[in-house]
């Protein structure tokens, strides 16, 4: 084996003599790696965002939604999922099922509300006290509505911290204030802790109003719920409870009128869609890596032609074919690794700024993969010019001017 350090040292010296050419040659790889890493980071971020959202729901929760949601592993939200279907009878029926520890009905309402500093649209989620446990709400100030409020149809409301400060300036200001939803005056009895999230059309819990579903009937004369969330005693009972719910509901509804959804199931479906989408984008970006590789191959052929005489001299001094091969391979690997490193660095910077708007991140695997792929491109596209160099006849090469 020859002295690889000497080979790499020479390659680096060559590059510092031709900085502009080196940079331009590795630009293709730079852009390719940048694009691939950014897209992978966005994909990872999205996946994490989705799983965080579902994590909050816990593993022992089931959702009942109208219509068919998951069919054949895919995800297809039907129109009916937006309209109310379930009623109080379903709610009571479900509560009686073994191992169910809570059922939260959900009805949504949107209304213009007036704060002390601003008027705005608010989304109100009417539910029961069971929602606290199911959604994992924590209270920052005041209290959440309780069973008593539900029974008494109390005109109380709990605000997410963001909407509270939007309307009143701060959570402190909002607490205890009265707020009118259509013609009904509610008292703000609590502010939830911030859960983050939101943005990009996701569910932003910090911007919601939460009130007792019984009070919500004022706006919901049909007394229909658009969703029922069922808290099960533990993960182990999920399938049994699921079957029981199904049997109960089949007495009143057709099979295609409702779906029982496990959060993990839903999450898998959603993430798999995004993963495929992400993979397609990454694959498209990877094409630019191939283009970058061809750019390197092109320059390496030029380099070999420029140095035919030098190759002949080295062979005359005892360089083996493999020495010449390694010399040029080292150059192409260094070229594409330079591109890879720079691309990674720019991607890192890009992700740093993206993070203000989107939870993008890169993991160690992405770094390793992008560097391995860069070297692999250097080898793949460098090997042809390098072989050409190694196979030159010494005498012919030396005679070359």
């Amino acid at each position: 084996m020859i002295n690889l350090i000497a080979v790499y040292k020479e390659a680096i010296a060559d590059f510092s003599r031709n900085k502009v050419r080196t940079f331009l040659t590795s630009l293709g790889i730079l852009i390719g790696v940048f694009a691939v890493v950014i897209l992978m980071a966005l994909g990872l971020g999205l996946k994490k965002y989705i799983s965080d959202q579902f994590e909050a729901l816990g593993k022992s929760t089931l959702f009942l939604v109208p219509g068919r949601v998951l069919s054949g592993g895919g995800f297809s939200a039907s129109v009916s999922s937006l309209t109310g279907r379930f009623d109080n009878r379903d709610l009571e029926n479900l509560k009686r099922i073994d191992n169910v520890i809570g059922v939260a009905p959900i009805a949504l309402k949107s209304a213009k509300v007036m704060g002390t500093i601003k008027e705005d649209f608010a989304d109100i989620l009417f539910s029961s006290e069971a929602i606290v446990d199911i959604m994992g709400f924590e209270v920052d100030m005041g209290r959440f509505f309780n069973k008593n409020d539900v029974t008494k149809r109390a005109k109380v409301i709990v605000l997410g911290p963001r909407i509270a400060s939007d309307l009143f300036g701060s959570s402190e200001e909002a607490l205890g204030k009265k707020i009118r939803i259509e013609n009904v005056r509610f008292t703000i009895i609590g502010i939830t802790k911030s859960r983050g999230g939101g943005g990009m059309g996701g569910f932003d819990y910090d911007k919601y109003f939460y009130g007792p579903y019984t009070t919500g009937y004022i706006f919901n004369p049909d007394k229909k719920f658009f969703r029922l969330s069922v808290k099960v005693k533990s993960e182990n009972y999920i399938s049994q409870v699921r079957e029981d719910i199904k049997q109960k509901l089949l007495k009143r509804y057709e099979e295609e009128d409702f779906s029982i959804v496990e959060p993990t199931e839903l999450m898998t479906a959603i993430t798999s869609i995004f993963s495929i989408l992400n993979l397609v984008l990454v694959a498209i970006a990877a094409v630019s890596l191939v283009v970058g590789g061809i750019g390197i191959m092109n320059i390496m052929y030029v380099t070999v032609s420029d140095r035919i005489k030098e190759i002949g001299i080295r062979r005359a001094l005892g360089a083996h074919q493999s020495d010449i091969l390694y010399q040029f391979l080292a150059e192409s690997i260094l070229l594409s690794l330079t591109g890879g490193f720079l691309g990674l660095a720019f991607a890192y910077l890009g992700i740093f700024f993206l993070n203000r708007y989107f939870p993008a991140y890169i993991d160690g695997l992405t770094v390793v993969i992008s560097l391995v792929v860069s070297s692999a491109i250097g080898i793949t596209f460098g090997v042809f010019p390098a072989r050409k160099a190694a196979n030159l006849e010494p005498v012919e090469a030396m005679r070359y001017e």
Partner: protein
């Protein structure tokens, strides 16, 4: 040390015509010899030199180095012989312009497959000092005169402690005074270190440094 038996080199000019650059050459060069190869331009001197130095292969015939037939050797084994056994000196010096004098001189050492009996840097310093090039150690070749460049090339040929120096018109690009200096240097190496030297020239006063003159014309030894 070197023995050529019925060596021919044929170039195909096109599918019909072949050209004999060398024709049935029989030649022996003994250990410690200082010989010159003379002949007019195009007579096949360089071709012969390349075959002796294992840079080129004959079209037919046999080449023995230390009684070993080289046609059965792999490319790697031949590379090793070029690295350790032979040192080349060329008319155009053939230094690598982007490398310094020191890097040029030590270049053969990075290609060696056997353990070196010396420290490359120290040996290079030693030779360069002996050749009067100490101050040029870190210069680039294009800053040197022709004579200095040729001495660097000889230093490079010497670094691996070869047994044989092959010089193809080493004085061809030099004025006659510098040419004689180079010849004196080669003769000194031959005498002091018992190095075998074979050189190509078409100047008879250069050839006269050698103890033996081999004349060649149209690919044949006269």
């Amino acid at each position: 040390m070197i023995n050529l038996q019925k060596v021919s080199k044929v170039y195909k000019l096109d599918s019909e015509i072949v050209f004999f650059a060398l024709k049935d050459i029989n030649l022996t060069i003994k250990e410690g010899e200082f010989c010159s190869i003379m002949g007019p331009s195009g007579s096949g001197k360089s071709t012969l030199m390349h075959i002796i130095g294992l840079l080129d292969k004959p079209s037919s015939g046999k080449v023995f180095i230390e009684k070993k037939e080289i046609s059965n050797l792999s490319d790697d084994e031949i590379s090793n012989l070029r690295n350790e056994f032979v040192g080349f000196v060329f008319q155009q010096f053939n230094l690598i312009p982007k490398l310094t004098v020191l890097e040029n001189v030590t270049l053969p050492t990075i290609y060696t497959r056997s353990a070196l009996s010396f420290n490359p840097r120290e040996r290079a310093d030693e030779i360069l000092t002996k050749f009067g090039l100490k101050e040029k150690t870190h210069s680039y070749p294009n800053r040197l005169s022709g004579g200095q460049q040729q001495r660097v090339a000889i230093a490079r040929a010497m670094i691996m402690k070869p047994r044989l120096i092959l010089a193809d018109e080493p004085t061809g690009n030099l004025d006659s005074k510098t040419g004689h200096e180079i010849m004196t240097l080669l003769r000194k190496l031959n005498e002091d270190e018992n190095l075998t030297v074979a050189l190509v020239t078409h100047e008879s006063d250069i050839a006269s440094y050698a103890k033996r003159v081999i004349k060649i014309r149209d690919g044949e030894i006269l």
